[in-house]
C-alpha cells in the first residue's frame, strides 16, 4: 500500500530557532496518526507546512504518490487536505450555515447548504443546528462547526490541532467516535496533542518531536504513556509532592455572587458560592467560556461587586479595587498573559511593577524606585527559571511558557494570603509546568489558600484538595478531589444537563 502522505527531510528555520530539522514520516490512508511533542517542539510549524501556510526551507512532500508543495491553504484544500485549528475562526454574530458558507469557494444556496450540513452532521454523529448563532454555541459545538466545514470538502487528510483542549470528557468521546468513523471510511487523520492517554486510545501510529527534531515513533497502543512522555521531554518527570494536612480557617469566602455579562457573548455568573481555607488548593474546572474570566475579574477586583459577596479573612472586599485587594493579600494571575497579566511592549522590570508595587514597596510617595523594581524582577526571573537575557527585555519577546513562569512567579513571590490563578500552566512545557504546580502546592503548604482555575483536568486532579466546576456561570458544589473519577468530573463539567443526548 502506498502512503497517503510522505514527508521527507522537511526543514524550516526562523531567525534564531530551527522550528523543524530534517523531519520525515508518512501517513497511510485511513490511519489516525499522532504528532506528539511539547510546546515549542515544532508541531505547529510542521502542520502549517502541510497545510500550505508556511513554506519549508528544505525537504519534500508527496501526497498520494504525486509531488505536493502547496503554495497556500487553498491549494492544500484543493488537494484534499483540511485542517481544524486550535483557535476557531468563526463569527459569533453569524449562524452556523453562514459561517460555513464564508469559508467556501462557491457556496451553494443557503437551503441546500443547510441540508448538507444536517446530512453530514447526522452521518458522523455531530449534532448541530445550521441556523443557530455561533455566539450561542459551546466550545465543543463550535469545534463541530469547524469539523463539518472540513468534512464538506471530502478531505483525504484531516489535520486536528489539539482538538480536545476545549472539550468535556463526554464531548471527547463524541469526537473520537466521529474520528474513528472517518478513519474507517479511509480518511487519514493527523492528530496533534500532548495528552498521552487520548493518543493511546485513539491513534494507530505516533511521531514524536522534540526541539524541532523527530526523536522517535511508536505504536501508542503498545507502549506506556510514561514511555511516550520520556521521549517527548527527554527525561523522567517528577510528580509534584505534598504532605497531608488538615485545612485551617476560611481565608476567602464568596457567596451569592451574581454578575451580568459585560458583553452580549459574555457569561453571567449565577449565584456562585464557595470558600477556601488556609493550606488548601481549590480546583475550579470547566470548559472555556463558562465564566472563568468573569470569576477571575470579580476576585481580582476588575469587576467590583457588592462588598459582602467576597470576604477575605472576614473582611468584606467585594467593592474594593485591584490594588486595595493586593494590599490585603488577595493576588491574582489571569489567563491571558499578553495584554492582561502583562503589558506586551513593556520590559519585565516595568511588568514587575504592575502588581508588585504595593506589597514590595517599589515606590516612595508615588515615585518609582526602578532599582528596587529591577531587583524584584530579577528575583522572579531567578527563582522561577525564566529564560531571558535580562529584566530589560520586553514581555512580548519572551516565549509563552517563559512569560507564564514570570507572571505566576511575580504573584507567588509576593507572599499572598489568597492566590487565584487561571490556566497556570497553559502553553508551558512539561518540566516548567511541574515546577509551577510544585510552587503552588508549596504556597498552600505554607498556609496560603490557592484557587486554581484550569481546563486541564489532569492538572486539577493532581493538585487540588477540593474540586468544583463552572458551567454556564454556575459553580458546582466543591467535592474532595481525591477519588473523583473522570466520569463524575465530566458530569460536573457538563452541569448534568444536555449531556444525555451527547452521551449516546
Amino acid at each position: 500500500m502506498t502512503a497517503l502522505l510522505d514527508i521527507e527531510g522537511l526543514t524550516k528555520a526562523y531567525p534564531g530557532v530551527v522550528a523543524n530539522d530534517d523531519v520525515s514520516f508518512s501517513i497511510q490512508p485511513g490511519e489516525v496518526h499522532a504528532l506528539l511533542g511539547e510546546n515549542g517542539a515544532g508541531k505547529s510549524t510542521l502542520v502549517k507546512m502541510i497545510y500550505g501556510l508556511v513554506k519549508p526551507d528544505r525537504g519534500a512532500m508527496r501526497l498520494g504518490g504525486a509531488p505536493y508543495a502547496p503554495a497556500e491553504p487553498r491549494a492544500a484544500r484543493g488537494a484534499g487536505v483540511a485542517m481544524v485549528f486550535q483557535h476557531f475562526s468563526l463569527f459569533e454574530a453569524l449562524n452556523v450555515a453562514e459561517n460555513i458558507a464564508l469559508g467556501m469557494e462557491n457556496p451553494p444556496k443557503p437551503r441546500d447548504l443547510a441540508a448538507r450540513i444536517r446530512e453530514v452532521s447526522e452521518t458522523y454523529g455531530l449534532p448541530l443546528d445550521p441556523f443557530r448563532l455561533v455566539g450561542d454555541l459551546s466550545a465543543g459545538e463550535r469545534q463541530r462547526v469547524e469539523i463539518i466545514r472540513c468534512l464538506l470538502q471530502d478531505p483525504k487528510l484531516l489535520i486536528m490541532d489539539e482538538p480536545t483542549s476545549v472539550l468535556t470528557p463526554q464531548e471527547v468521546e463524541i469526537l473520537f467516535h466521529t474520528l474513528r468513523k472517518l478513519s474507517a471510511e479511509g480518511t487519514a487523520i493527523l492528530y496533534i496533542s500532548h495528552k498521552l492517554e487520548e493518543i493511546r486510545v485513539l491513534c494507530d501510529a505516533a511521531t514524536i518531536l522534540r526541539l524541532g527534531k523527530k526523536v522517535g515513533e511508536c505504536t501508542p497502543r503498545d507502549v506506556s504513556a510514561a514511555h511516550m512522555a520520556e521521549l517527548m521531554v527527554g527525561k523522567t518527570l517528577s510528580v509534584p509532592a505534598r504532605d497531608d494536612h488538615e485545612p485551617d480557617e476560611v481565608l476567602l469566602e464568596v457567596r451569592g455572587l451574581s454578575v451580568a455579562p459585560a458583553s452580549p457573548f459574555g457569561t453571567p455568573l449565577r449565584d456562585v458560592r464557595f470558600e477556601v481555607r488556609a493550606g488548601e488548593v481549590l480546583g475550579i474546572g470547566g470548559v472555556a467560556g463558562n465564566g472563568q474570566d468573569e470569576l477571575l475579574a470579580v476576585l481580582s477586583g476588575e469587576t467590583p461587586v457588592v462588598a459582602d459577596a467576597v470576604t477575605l479573612e472576614g473582611k468584606p472586599v467585594g467593592a474594593l479595587g485591584p490594588n486595595e485587594r493586593r494590599a490585603l493579600g488577595l493576588l491574582c494571575a489571569p489567563e491571558e498573559r499578553l495584554g492582561h497579566a502583562a503589558a506586551p511592549d513593556m520590559s519585565l522590570t516595568e511588568n514587575a511593577l504592575l502588581t508588585g508595587r504595593l506589597r514590595q514597596g517599589l515606590d516612595r510617595r508615588g515615585f518609582v524606585d526602578w532599582g528596587k523594581t529591577r531587583g524584584f524582577a530579577e528575583r522572579v526571573i531567578d527563582r522561577f527559571d525564566v529564560r531571558t537575557p535580562g529584566p530589560g527585555v520586553a514581555a512580548r519577546a519572551l516565549s509563552g511558557g517563559n512569560l507564564q513562569k514570570f507572571v505566576i512567579g511575580r504573584e507567588i513571590l509576593q507572599d499572598p494570603t489568597v492566590l487565584v490563578v487561571n490556566q497556570p500552566t497553559w502553553g508551558v512545557d512539561a518540566s516548567a509546568a511541574a515546577a509551577i504546580r510544585q510552587a503552588l502546592l508549596d504556597l498552600a503548604q505554607n498556609g496560603a489558600a490557592v484557587i486554581v482555575i484550569s481546563q486541564d483536568l489532569d492538572e486539577l486532579v493532581e493538585i487540588s484538595d477540593r474540586f468544583c466546576a463552572l458551567n454556564e456561570g454556575r459553580l458546582s458544589e466543591p467535592r474532595p478531589a481525591r477519588g473523583l473519577g473522570m466520569e463524575e468530573i465530566g458530569l460536573m463539567l457538563g452541569g448534568a444537563h444536555g449531556m444525555h443526548e451527547a452521551a449516546q
Binding site: 519549508p56 481580582s300 476588575e302 495584554g339 502583562a342 503589558a343 508615588g366 519577546a397
Partner: protein
C-alpha cells in the same frame, strides 16, 4: 520580496538617527522642488534653516520669534502627549487655548486699570481654569455618557471660536477702541502684560512655563507611578485595569492636564505676543501641537525639539516667501515633506526591512 519584520526591541540608533536623516532627506527632496520652481535650492534651504538664527540681517527679529512660536506649541503638545500616551485623544486643544485666553483676559480686564502685581498670577490661574473647564466637557461626557472625546473636543473648538468672536465684538471689546472689534491691549498695560523676561530673546512667562512643563512631564512619565499608569493604559488597557488603574480617573486627569496647559498657553499668548482678544486670535497652535506631539514621539524631550523645529520651519518659510518669492504652497509642501520623512523613518525604530528570497526546495 521586501518584508517588514517587527523588532523585539526598538532600535536606539534609529530613534536618535532617524530624525537627523529625515531633515537631510527633506533638504534634498525640498531642494529638488525649489530647483524645479526656478529658485536656487541651496539659498532656499539656507534661508529656511540657517538665516532665521544666524543671519545678521534677520536674526535680530527672527531669533526671538523662534521661542515665541515654539513656546505655545511645546506647552500644548506636552499636555496632549500625556493623554495620547494613555489613548485619550484630545483633539480640541485649540478650543481650550481660546477659552484660556478669554477667561484670563476677562479676569485681567475686570480689574482694569489696576496695576496690582497680583493680577497677572490671577490671570494665569483663570486661564488654566478656562482650559480645564473646556476640557472637562468631553471628559465628563466620556466618563458618564460614553461619548467619543475626539468628536466632542473637536466640535467644541467651533463653539469656542464663536465665543471668541462674541467676546471680541461684544463684552470684552475695548470701550476706547472707537467701535473696532478687539479688547484692550493687555501687553501694554502694566498689570496684565506677559513681559519678555530677558530682553531680545523672546523668552516670556509662557516659554518658561513650557520649559518647566517639559521637565515636569519628563519626571512624571519616567519616574512617577502616574506616568507608568498612563503608559500602561495606552499600551494594554486590560493590563492597566488589572494593575489597578481607574480608567475614568485617568480620562479626567489627562484631559484636565492637557486643558490646563492649553489654557495657560492661550493666556500667555493673549497677554504677550498677541496682546489682545481679537476675532482672529487663534492661529492654529492647538492643532499644530498635535503634530508636534507626534513628531516628538510623545516624549517630552522629543516634543521640545519638535516644537523648535516646527517653529523654525514656520519662520524660515515666511522668510523664504519674503526674500525669494517662493509661493506659500511650496513652503507648506516643504513642511509636509519634513513630516513625511520623519514619520516614515519612525517606522524603522520598531521594524526592520528584510529582503526575502523567493523559492523553496
Amino acid at each position: 520580496m521586501i518584508a517588514l519584520e517587527k523588532r523585539a526591541q526598538p532600535s536606539r540608533a534609529w530613534v536618535v538617527g532617524g530624525p537627523v536623516l529625515a531633515v537631510v532627506l527633506t533638504m534634498l527632496a525640498g531642494g529638488l522642488m525649489f530647483a524645479a520652481l526656478g529658485t536656487d535650492p541651496v539659498e532656499a534651504i539656507r534661508i529656511i534653516f540657517w538665516d532665521p538664527l544666524f543671519s545678521e540681517r534677520f536674526a535680530a527679529y527672527s531669533r526671538p520669534q523662534l521661542l515665541v512660536k515654539a513656546g505655545p506649541l511645546i506647552l500644548i503638545a506636552i499636555g496632549l502627549s500625556m493623554g495620547f500616551k494613555a489613548g485619550i485623544w484630545n483633539i480640541g486643544a485649540e478650543g481650550q487655548y481660546i477659552l484660556g485666553a478669554i477667561c484670563g483676559a476677562a479676569f485681567g480686564l475686570a480689574f482694569y486699570p489696576s496695576e496690582s502685581p497680583l493680577i497677572f498670577p490671577g490671570m494665569v490661574l483663570a486661564g488654566i481654569a478656562g482650559g480645564v473647564l473646556w476640557a472637562m466637557i468631553p471628559a465628563l461626557l466620556k466618563v458618564y455618557a460614553r461619548t467619543n472625546e475626539i468628536l466632542v473636543s473637536l466640535l467644541l473648538v467651533y463653539v469656542a471660536e464663536a465665543m471668541l468672536a462674541s467676546a471680541a465684538t461684544g463684552w470684552l471689546r475695548n470701550p476706547e477702541g472707537s467701535g473696532f472689534p478687539g479688547s484692550r491691549n493687555l501687553a501694554r498695560h502694566a498689570g496684565t502684560a506677559n513681559l519678555e523676561l530677558i530682553a531680545g530673546t523672546g523668552m516670556h512667562w509662557g516659554v518658561l512655563a513650557a520649559f518647566i512643563a517639559v521637565i515636569a512631564a519628563y519626571v512624571v512619565m519616567t519616574r512617577h507611578v502616574l506616568g507608568y499608569q498612563i503608559r500602561l493604559a495606552g499600551q494594554a488597557p486590560r493590563a492597566a485595569r488589572f494593575g489597578g488603574v481607574n480608567p475614568a480617573r485617568l480620562v479626567i486627569l489627562c484631559l484636565g492636564v492637557s486643558g490646563a496647559l492649553a489654557g495657560a498657553a492661550g493666556l500667555f499668548e493673549v497677554s504677550g505676543p498677541a496682546a489682545r482678544i481679537s476675532i482672529d486670535f487663534n492661529v492654529g497652535y492647538g492643532f499644530t501641537a498635535i503634530i508636534v506631539a507626534f513628531l516628538g514621539r510623545l516624549n517630552p524631550i522629543g516634543i521640545l525639539l519638535a516644537g523648535l523645529l516646527m517653529a523654525l520651519t514656520f519662520i524660515g518659510g515666511e522668510l523664504a516667501q519674503l526674500m525669494l518669492g517662493v509661493p506659500a504652497p511650496a513652503i507648506q509642501a516643504f513642511q509636509g515633506m519634513l513630516l513625511f520623512f520623519l514619520l516614515a523613518l519612525d517606522l524603522m525604530a520598531n521594524y526592520r526591512i528584510r529582503l526575502k528570497r523567493e523559492g523553496m526546495a
